[in-house]
Every structure is written in structure tokens, then in C-alpha cells.
Amino acid sequence: MKLSYQQVEHIARLGRLALSQAEIENFSLQLSNILENFEILQQVDTTHIPPTTRTNPLQNIFREDEVAESYPQNAILANAPQQEENCFKVKAILE
């Protein structure tokens, strides 16, 4: 499985990562090499084997929906790169 420059660019876009040209070229080689090492999984017969998403013996966990104190607004906004009128400030999503 060889990843082309265009494929790497596409994956980066899906992952919301801007990459330099050098990074794309580097990843094209490295990721191909890593994926080649994953081919070993195709040797395993997994017909009728269910997937495992978690290993603990728990199912859905429910609790009462109780009203409780939340974190103060200023504590949560304290780490915001940009804020305005007690809100997180973001770039316009719809022009």
C-alpha cells in the first residue's frame, strides 16, 4: 500500500492539519512503510469474530439527571485565546 502525495494531502485535510511540502513527502514514505507493517493483520481469520470496543464488563451507565453547580464562566473562559462578551470568539462560519 503506497500512499501518494495527493492521498496524504487529502488525509491531512480530513484531519484538519495543514502540512508543509516536506512533511507531506516525508509522511508519504513513512505512512506507506507503517501501513505495510499492518498487512500482517490480513493473515488473521476474523470471520464471525465480533469487534471489541472496550474491555471492561460495563454496559450503558445511567444516573439521575440532577441539577448541580457548574464551573464559573470566568474559570472556563480563562484559557480562551479570544473572547468577547463572556463568549468564545471564533471566525465567522457563515459569511
Binding site: L3, V8, I11, A12, L14, G15, R16, L17, A18, L19, S20, E23, F27, Q30, L31, N33, I34, L35, N37, F38, I40, L41, Q42, Q43, V44, T46, I49, P50, P51, T52, T53, R54, T55, N56, P57, L58, I61, R63, Y71, A75, I76, A78, N79, A80, P81, Q82, F88, V90, K91, A92, I93
Partner: protein, 486 residues
């Protein structure tokens, strides 16, 4: 004992209880040790010396009133991926360089409830992705046994700090070996509890189905004391179980009569260092002498698929977990972007380091349309087989024993340019996270002055048995008493 910083938790506790030392004296001793050797090691990213001394002073007043628990007044370092209210928590990433959490992780609340002294935060591979601590965005940590070598990773800072007496103990996190492999490479004790045993609330998420917080300590007794404190159900982490927490110190029994131990040959992979294999053989003979019934021919044939499955599952979960770093609510935010997508992409381009990007790319690919079934779903099915194999093995054995790492500590820079070689350092530890079972690494020998770790793997929620085996071995050896020549 010449210096207080050399003490273990249980030794320090006795002296504090008898009022032979104070928490302030102990904390000052540890801070002095940090100031003496930190220039060589670079194990810490934030040292909260003033607040640590202030806490210690208050705690001494409590101790005077007879208010003392096993961790009271004893300094601890915490891997910089565990949220500490008011103390910067960076994940050793530029993207969180200035992040100050508004809350404590549950494990920190539990330590504070026992009046532990918070020394500060220690170094790690960025977002816990790495096996050498070279992927820290700030600086690499050096191995105290040989400063030209890595301490392992990703909890390399905590492991190096405990090995060199910069802290009495530390907390790390383990997604594929990140507590056990650095513990092995630095010659300390490191435990990864069963998935669901310790709360992950406040642990910055890397791969949520694999992550667990675990202690790094100078001996096995200390490990039980930390586990007694941090284990247990947490309503804030719905993956924790409601099982009662046993008193782990009850498992500190110095013989192994009646225990069945399996040695899976499948862990002796190509590239395993001869000295590691030899040291393990000698250590396992010791377990036999202590009364364990050892089967040298245990078999877990799916082990060889674990590495591939892990490096699909962990990056896939990581790529989803790290989607939250968009430069809006906290963390680094790239300036001068013209629109929202460009702002996100640039924030992540400049905020994340190379290994984090590599894993986001791998995970995004494995989860993308057309590849999901071939990679992610396939890996999850292989995960089922690996877990089933452990379940089968534990019908025959009470524990499995393997090397923790195929080699001793490697040179700084040696594997940095070859990600596949770096990934192979976790080959003995990551099957345990895939299966969700507990495992401990303890010192079991040296090769050319570098520590070798023995990994003891247990049944789900049976930390007690592996702690017993670790303790019995420790009592019959003195590897854990050796100190690095700093």
C-alpha cells in the same frame, strides 16, 4: 540513610508519623535534589516549589494533631498529562503550553485528600505519543543511568525523576506501555492497572479505550500504597467499575506457594537483547525457588498481531480525541487566518509536533471511508482474539511473566527518524492495553549498568496477585536498591 530524598513512601511515612522528620524537611530535601541534578536530567517541566513548601508547612500542623495517612506530607511528581487545578498542564505540547486547568483530575483530588505534597509536573512525549520522551515539545529527558540514553516513554520524566530521587514517587499514564517501559528502562516499579480500575477523569485523552493512570515508585510496597489511594469507582468516569478496592498491602506476601506462572515464548521477539532474555531466565528461576509453579511453554500466538492492531486502534482514537484542539476554547491559536478552516488547520500545524501529526494522519486514514473495515474494524476484531487468548491463558495461570522491553535504554536520537523502530519498543507492553488487563514492571537485572525490567501480567482486576509476585521477587533481590551514578 544519608539524605531524606532517598526515602521510599513507607519509610518516609514511618519517620513522619514518629515525628522524626517533618514534611517541610522532606520537601526541602527533594527540592534540593531537583536543583542539584535537574540540569542533567530535564525530567520536570513545572516545579511548584513555593506552593509545595506552603502545603508541607500546613500539612506538618495536621500531622502534629495526629492526622496522617500513608501519603500525607510526601512529595509527588505528576506526569504533565494529568490535570492539576491552577498548575499548568501542557501535555508537553505547544498547543497546550499555557493551559491552566480549572479543575483537578480525580486522582489528584484523591492525593490531595490524603494531603500529598504536589511538587510539580514532569516531562513526557507530546500527548503521551512516543517511547523515549524525545517527542516532548520542550526538551528530551535523559536516563539517569546513562545521560546519553533515553529514559523510555512516554512517562520518561516521572520514571527518571523517581529513579534519581527527584521525587519520592510519581503518577504516569499508560496507553501502550508508557508507565511500564520507562519504569523498566530507569530501574523503578511501574504499574498499569486494569482498564476501569483507576479514574481517567482529568487525564487528557489519548486513546480512551486503552489509557490508564498508574504509579511509578521506588519499590512494590509503595506501589500498593499509591494504588490503595487512587483506585476505585468514579461517577465522573463511567468506564470505572464499582468493584470494591482491596487493601493491596494485604498482598505483600513474600512467597509464591500455589501460584501458577506462565512464560509465553511469543514475547521473545526478533531483536530481543540476549542480556534481557538471560536476566529474565534467572529472575524466573527465582520465582520457582519462591514457590511458583512455572510453565515455560505458555502460548499466546496472537501476540504477533498486537503491534499492528495497536498502531491502528490507538492513532484512530487519538485522531478523534485530538479533534478538540482547534484553538478556540483553550490552547494555542494561530493568528492571521482568513477563515475558520484555515484557522483550525494552521493552529494544528504549528501547535502539534511531528509524532502527533503522524498519529493523527494514521488514525484519520484508518477511519476514513473505504479503509475503515480493512483497518479499524479488522484491528478491533483482532483485539477480540487477543483478549480471548488472555482469558484462556488465565484459566491455566495466575500470572504471565515477560520482559517489559526488548532492549535496555537506547541512545538519544537512535530511533527518532524511524517511527517503526520506535513503535517496536512497545512490543511487549501494548498487548496488555489491548486486552485491558493489569501488568507491573519491576527491576530484574542490569546489562552494562543499564536496568532490565520484568513484566508480570495479571487477570482483570487481580492487581493483588501481580503485586504479590513482584513483592516476593523484590524481597529476594536487591536490584531496586541500586542507585544511578549521578
Amino acid at each position: 540513610m544519608s539524605e531524606l530524598y532517598q526515602l521510599t513512601i513507607h519509610e518516609a511515612h514511618e519517620l513522619l508519623k514518629q515525628r522524626k522528620i517533618s514534611s517541610v524537611e522532606l520537601t526541602k530535601s527533594v527540592l534540593r535534589r531537583i536543583s542539584q541534578i535537574e540540569d542533567k536530567l530535564h525530567a520536570c517541566v513545572t516545579i511548584a516549589d513555593e506552593s509545595a513548601l506552603k502545603q508541607a508547612k500546613k500539612i506538618d500542623d495536621c500531622i502534629k494533631n495526629g492526622d496522617i495517612a500513608p501519603l500525607t506530607g510526601i512529595p509527588v511528581l505528576v506526569k504533565d498529562i494529568i490535570c492539576t487545578k491552577g498548575i499548568r498542564t501542557t501535555c508537553c505540547s505547544k498547543i497546550l503550553e499555557n493551559f491552566v486547568p480549572p479543575y483537578d483530575a480525580t486522582v489528584i483530588e484523591k492525593l490531595k485528600a490524603q494531603k500529598a505534597v504536589m511538587l510539580g509536573k514532569s516531562n513526557m512525549d507530546e500527548f503521551a505519543m512516543g517511547s523515549s520522551t524525545e517527542h516532548s515539545a520542550f526538551f528530551p529527558t535523559h536516563n539517569p543511568w546513562d545521560l546519553s540514553r533515553v529514559p523510555g516513554g512516554s512517562s520518561g520524566g516521572p520514571a527518571a525523576a523517581v529513579a534519581s530521587d527527584e521525587s519520592i514517587y510519581a503518577l504516569g499514564s499508560d496507553t501502550g506501555g508508557s508507565v511500564r517501559q520507562p519504569a523498566a528502562l530507569c530501574g523503578v516499579v511501574g504499574l498499569k492497572p486494569t482498564y476501569g480500575r483507576v479514574s481517567r477523569f482529568g487525564l487528557v485523552a489519548f486513546a480512551s479505550s486503552l489509557d490508564q493512570i498508574g504509579p511509578l515508585t521506588k519499590d512494590v510496597t509503595d506501589c500498593t500504597l499509591v494504588m490503595n489511594t487512587i483506585a476505585g469507582h468514579d461517577p465522573k468516569d463511567s468506564t470505572t467499575v464499582q468493584y470494591p478496592v482491596p487493601d493491596y498491602t494485604q498482598h505483600l506476601i513474600p512467597d509464591l506457594k500455589g501460584l501458577r506462572v506462565g512464560i509465553p515464548e511469543d514475547y521473545y521477539v526478533e531483536g530481543m537483547q540476549t542480556e534481557v532474555r538471560t536476566a529474565l531466565e534467572v529472575a524466573i528461576r527465582k520465582l520457582e525457588e519462591l514457590g511458583a509453579k512455572v510453565d515455560w511453554e505458555a502460548s499466546l500466538p496472537h501476540t504477533k498481531y498486537a503491534l499492528a492492531a495497536y498502531y491502528i486502534l490507538a492513532p484512530s482514537e487519538a485522531s478523534a480525541n485530538l479533534a478538540r484542539y482547534d484553538g478556540v476554547k483553550y490552547g494555542f491559536s494561530a493568528p492571521n487566518a482568513s477563515n475558520v478552516i484555515e484557522a483550525t488547520e494552521k493552529t494544528r500545524q504549528f501547535g502539534f509536533g511531528i509524532e502527533v501529526k503522524r498519529r493523527i494522519m494514521l488514525g484519520t486514514y484508518a477511519l476514513s471511508a473505504g479503509y475503515y473495515e480493512a483497518y479499524y474494524l479488522k484491528a478491533q476484531k483482532v483485539r477480540t482474539l487477543i483478549r480471548q487468548e488472555f482469558d484462556q491463558a488465565f484459566k491455566k495461570y495466575d500470572a504471565l511473566v515477560t520482559p517489559t522491553s526488548p532492549t535496555v535504554a537506547f541512545k538519544l536520537g537512535e530511533k527518532l527518524e524511524d517511527p517503526m523502530q520506535m513503535y517496536l519498543s512497545d512490543v511487549c507492553t501494548l498487548p496488555i492495553n489491548i486486552a485491558g488487563v493489569p501488568a507491573i514492571s519491576i527491576p530484574a537485572g542490569f546489562a552494562d549498568g543499564l536496568p532490565i525490567g520484568m513484566q508480570i501480567i495479571g487477570k482483570p482486576f487481580d492487581e493483588g496477585t501481580i503485586l504479590r509476585i513482584a513483592f516476593a521477587y523484590e524481597q529476594a533481590s536487591d536490584w531496586h536498591k541500586r542507585k544511578p551514578p549521578l
